[in-house]
């Protein structure tokens, strides 16, 4: 390709494919076998019919002529059976390969994503992004079956065919090679080159059309109120016609390639026939061979048939690889793991001049935050949504690095703390409760893989979910639906609390711990939580301190306002 970055873009993925080199070779060999049988079948049949006709004519003319019918007959039957069986086995084998590649790709990318920090991840939770990720992975897992094996097998077929033809009529072999190789070159490089730009941008056009559609749907009320719906719809349709323009040019191009295959194969067949006929006329080859050669060329068309569509859309594969490369690169800067272990017992927390700025935001999320919390304290950090509470939580759990300032936990600088120790000693109950599509037990084991079943039951009892779990026909093996959807919001919250109970952290961050629970249950849980929190440092993140849902045992109150700790908060401290 002209663009030097294409090989570089695809290199990591080709390297991943190369791990299964032998399977890929075997798959290509099966493809070649199928194709070879198809060529052999038609060529040999043509030879046999002609030879029979010539022999029959000779016999009719009273000449002594014989033809061994068993060898070609057997050959024809063999080719017919091989072609069928090889095609079936090839499809099965290659699909198996593709699915193995899919597993490899998913595993590899998941490992990459597992290292990303919250800033990168937050953008990637949107369903749009996740759908595109799956689509990109699918694009790459079929890289082999669309873009690697077919051109390789086609090239091999063209070369072998030309060689075979050249055995009988050298000049015909050269002519066939010249025609079919230039066709091959155009179908791969030429089609890819012309289709690169439109196929590369197609996905982003679809994406833009999609955002516009979402906008159109979400803004329906305002658009209708301001009478702007038709104007906005025109924008949407404009996007659509841009996309269709791309699709039209891609369709035109791939259609051109497809017809070109038949034209070039036809021309090669015609040339082979003409040159073979000349050779026959000069007595160089028999009549049966003269027929066999063009038929062999004709049957080779199948090898080239898949190329135009695949290579016209090479840009889409390239774009998918670029997006995934970007994803891999975004996890590249990963911080060096620390080695300090956190002490047992409650952890002190110190923030000194901590600032956090999200890229592209007009104002920093946190600005010069100073906070010193002795071990065992219980801080209530209040503020409106967007004031920066969640940012504090993300910083303390090392999901985000601070833009400036220093954070210390239990006396150690946060970035020096060993990963395992940090995760064991710092627990958070966030606003979002992630329940996985798995059993109830599995969702609890997340907190403590070594827990035994009785501990799980006690954890459930602690949040008053044990009776409910017992009433389920499958008990702890009950699957929790997509994102935990079969559970009510309150049940999910309690399950998250149960997860918390299974651990033994020194610092606990609780974001609106009783959100979505009714007052009576909240009161009962509050008492139990109070007990469990004894001997731990606690940070409550709450909207405001009022009403029935005030968390237990607050010893200190700070208020965040637009990313800063406000002074007035210290005065409004109330003991819990």
């Amino acid at each position: 390709m002209r663009d030097p970055s294409l090989p570089i873009t695809l290199r990591p993925w080709l390297r991943l494919l190369a791990r299964r080199r032998r399977r890929l070779m075997a798959g290509a060999a099966l493809l070649a076998l199928t194709l070879g049988s198809a060529i052999g079948l038609l060529a040999l049949s043509g030879w046999f019919i002609t030879a029979s006709a010539l022999t029959g004519m000779a016999l009719a003319a009273g000449l002594a002529a014989t033809l061994d019918v068993h060898v070609p007959g057997g050959g024809i039957r063999t080719f017919a059976v091989t072609r069928t069986v090889a095609r079936y086995v090839e499809r099965l084998y290659n699909h198996d390969t593709v699915l193995r590649l899919l597993a490899d790709l998913r595993g590899t990318l998941f490992a990459v994503m597992a290292r990303l920090d919250e800033r990168v991840l937050a953008r990637r939770r949107a369903s749009d992004w996740l759908n595109r990720l799956t689509a990109d992975i699918d694009t790459l897992d079929s890289l082999y079956l669309r873009l690697l094996a077919p051109p390789a097998v086609a090239l091999l077929a063209v070369l072998l065919l030309s060689g075979f033809v050249a055995l009988w009529v050298p000049v015909a072999g050269l002519a066939v090679a010249a025609l079919l190789l230039s066709a091959w070159l155009w179908l791969t490089v030429g089609q890819a080159w012309l289709g690169m730009a439109p196929s590369h941008s197609q996905v982003s056009h679809v994406q833009r059309l999609r955002s516009q559609a979402i906008e159109h749907l979400q803004g329906q009320a305002e658009l209708e109120a301001y009478g702007a719906r038709d104007a906005h719809r025109r924008l949407l349709l404009q996007r659509e016609s841009q996309l269709q323009q791309l699709q039209r040019s891609l369709g035109r191009l791939s259609g051109f390639g497809t017809s070109l295959v038949n034209l070039m194969v036809g021309l090669a067949m015609l040339t082979a026939l003409w040159l073979a006929a000349m050779a026959w006329e000069q007595g160089g080859i028999s009549g049966a061979v003269m027929v066999m050669l063009p038929l062999a060329v004709l049957a080779t068309g199948e090898a080239l048939a898949l190329l135009p569509v695949a290579f016209t859309h090479l840009g889409a594969t390239r774009a998918a690889a670029e997006r995934l490369n970007e994803l891999v690169a975004s996890g590249g800067e990963g911080t060096k793991p620390g080695h300090e272990a956190l002490p047992a017992g409650p952890l002190s927390v110190v923030l000194r001049g901590v600032t956090l700025r999200y890229p592209g935001a007009l104002q920093p999320a946190l600005e010069s935050v100073d906070l010193a919390l002795p071990a065992g304290a219980r801080l209530a950090l209040t503020g409106a949504s967007g004031a920066g509470k969640s940012s504090v939580a993300a910083l303390l759990t090392r999901q985000l690095p601070p833009t400036a300032g220093e954070i210390r936990l239990g006396g150690s600088a946060l970035h020096n703390i060993e990963e395992r120790s940090l995760r064991e000693r710092v627990a958070i109950l966030g606003q979002r409760v992630d329940l996985f599509q798995d059993s109830l037990a599995h969702n609890l084991y997340l907190a403590d893989p070594k827990a035994d079943e009785s501990e799980l039951w006690r954890a459930l009892a602690w949040v008053e979910l044990a009776d409910w779990a017992e009433s389920l026909p499958r008990g702890l093996a009950t699957r929790v639906g997509e994102g935990g959807r079969q559970l009510s919001g309150g049940q999910a919250r309690r399950l998250a609390l149960a997860r918390l109970w299974l651990r033994d952290p020194g610092l606990v961050i609780l974001d609106e711990p009783f959100a979505g629970l009714d007052a009576e249950l909240a009161a009962r849980l509050s008492g139990r939580l109070d007990q469990w929190l004894a001997g731990r440092t606690v940070i409550y993140l709450v909207h405001q301190l009022a009403g029935a849902f005030e968390p237990p045992g607050i010893t200190r109150h700070e208020r965040l306002y637009q990313g800063r700790l406000t002074d007035c908060a210290a005065h409004s401290f109330r003991s819990g």
Partner: protein
Amino acid sequence: MAKGITEPMGERFGPELTPRRWLAAHAAGQRVWLTLAALAGFAVGALTIVQMLLLAWIISRLLVDGASVASLGGGFLALAAVLPVRALAQWGQELAGQEASLRIRRAVRAELLDHLAAMGPVRAGARHTAGLASQLVEQVEALDGYFARFLPQLRLAVAIPVMILVVVLWLDWLAALFLLLAAPLIPLFMALVGMGAERLNQAQFAAVSRLAGHFLDRVRGIATLQLFHRTEAATHEVHEAADDYRRLSMRTLRLAFLSSAVLEFFASVAIAVVAIYVGFGLLGYIDYGPSPQLTLFTGLLVLLLAPEFFQPLRSLAQHYHDRAAALGAADGMVALLSEAAAEQRTGRPRPVREAGQVVSLVNVTLDHPGRGRVLGPLDLTVRQGDILAITGPSGVGKSALLQLLAGFVAPDQGERRVMDGLSFAWMDQRPLLIPGSLADNLRLAAPGASDAELHQALRHAGLADVVDALPGGLATPLGERGSGLSGGQAQRLALARVFLSNSPLVLLDEPTASLDEGAEAGIIESLRQLSDTGRTLVIATHHPALMALATRRLVLAEGRVVSDSGEAKGDEKDDERRDDA
């Protein structure tokens, strides 16, 4: 939906709108292009026969009749001429099919958008936005293969074999009999292929979504896995799940590929049988039926046509998944299109009974599917200059009442009357932000507004300082969905739009929810200014500060009006006005 299918749909598609009928109706709309595609495909088939005929003829002239190569120049030239014409016809088939598909996809999108517009913000908004967007974009795209390739190919899969059969019949009836014997098997194998593909598709679909679900589920929860230090185990699990899926699908594929292998087998065997039959016939081993009359020409031509007989069917089998994809997509779209569009909504509302009334609801009720009665029966008249706060516990129908006033949803009973030529401004918790400049976003409400007017609106909304401080000013681009703006800033932008719109009636749905006190106070001050310019405000809220702004309070409970502080006073006002007049 209790109302069932709307009339226009019923007229167009008969008593029941099914995915198949709906697809057929759209295909009928592009009959010309689809027919063109089929005709071009038919021409390709015919020219292929001509090509094979010429090939067999040239060979036969050379080998049987002993003609010289030089004397057959005409034959070679004719063959050389057929090839580009056939290539052009093939290109034409692709282009016509594509054009039909592009046009149909555009028509489908327009149909969906029309329907969504008719449903209105409330009924359409009740659906998952991402799901609807995917129907408008990806699902419409999923129709491509069906119209562009499958439908034209479906006609060719019948026409071309018949054409070839006629030619072979003329050449050698026994060979034609071989093909004819296979012919009744064709629909059988088509069904087999179809069933295989469909079963494959269903099983695959379930497995794919389960597995895609597993992977995405874990990706979605990566932050949680990190916090529990479980990413390594999860990575292993992801790989395992993908591998399980592979084993599962291979079981299905083994069967599914069998049906296409059968087709492949027929294509191969046809060549083999014909070759051996013709060969033996030419050798004189067979003296039954037409065999003694076989010549190299007829024999070779039958051989060359045998694979072409099965080729259209093989192509159709390749495009079979396009059909399944289109049916799947059509299923969802038909379900959406069958949902009643409230026709009353789009009709012209009757005028209010008295001057000074802006909008009134008379004895209205509102039901939500699956939730029963949401509102009413109730009466409400909004008068000029009102600052009406609608309050009540959450879920009581505040938003629904506001939507009724706006006409976003039609009442199930009763009627909505509006002032002559009423326009209104709307603002809720999630203002619409379009990618484009700040100015583009403002002009949504008033396309003709000057920059000076935009600045003035921003000043009223309390956003002028922020915008002035930006180096790009009004031309500053907003990222996708307004990224870069805080929640409060986005609300102020929406408020600036309200100022720009000059609409006499302003409907606000919880305009300060999720804002901190400072931002809330700013918005309230702006609303007060808005009211000072003589606009009528209706605010659904439970925030005390907003309620304090109101001159009239309406309390809802269980969908009914419990108290309306302005009812009596309002009447008095009306009386006064009447006295004045």
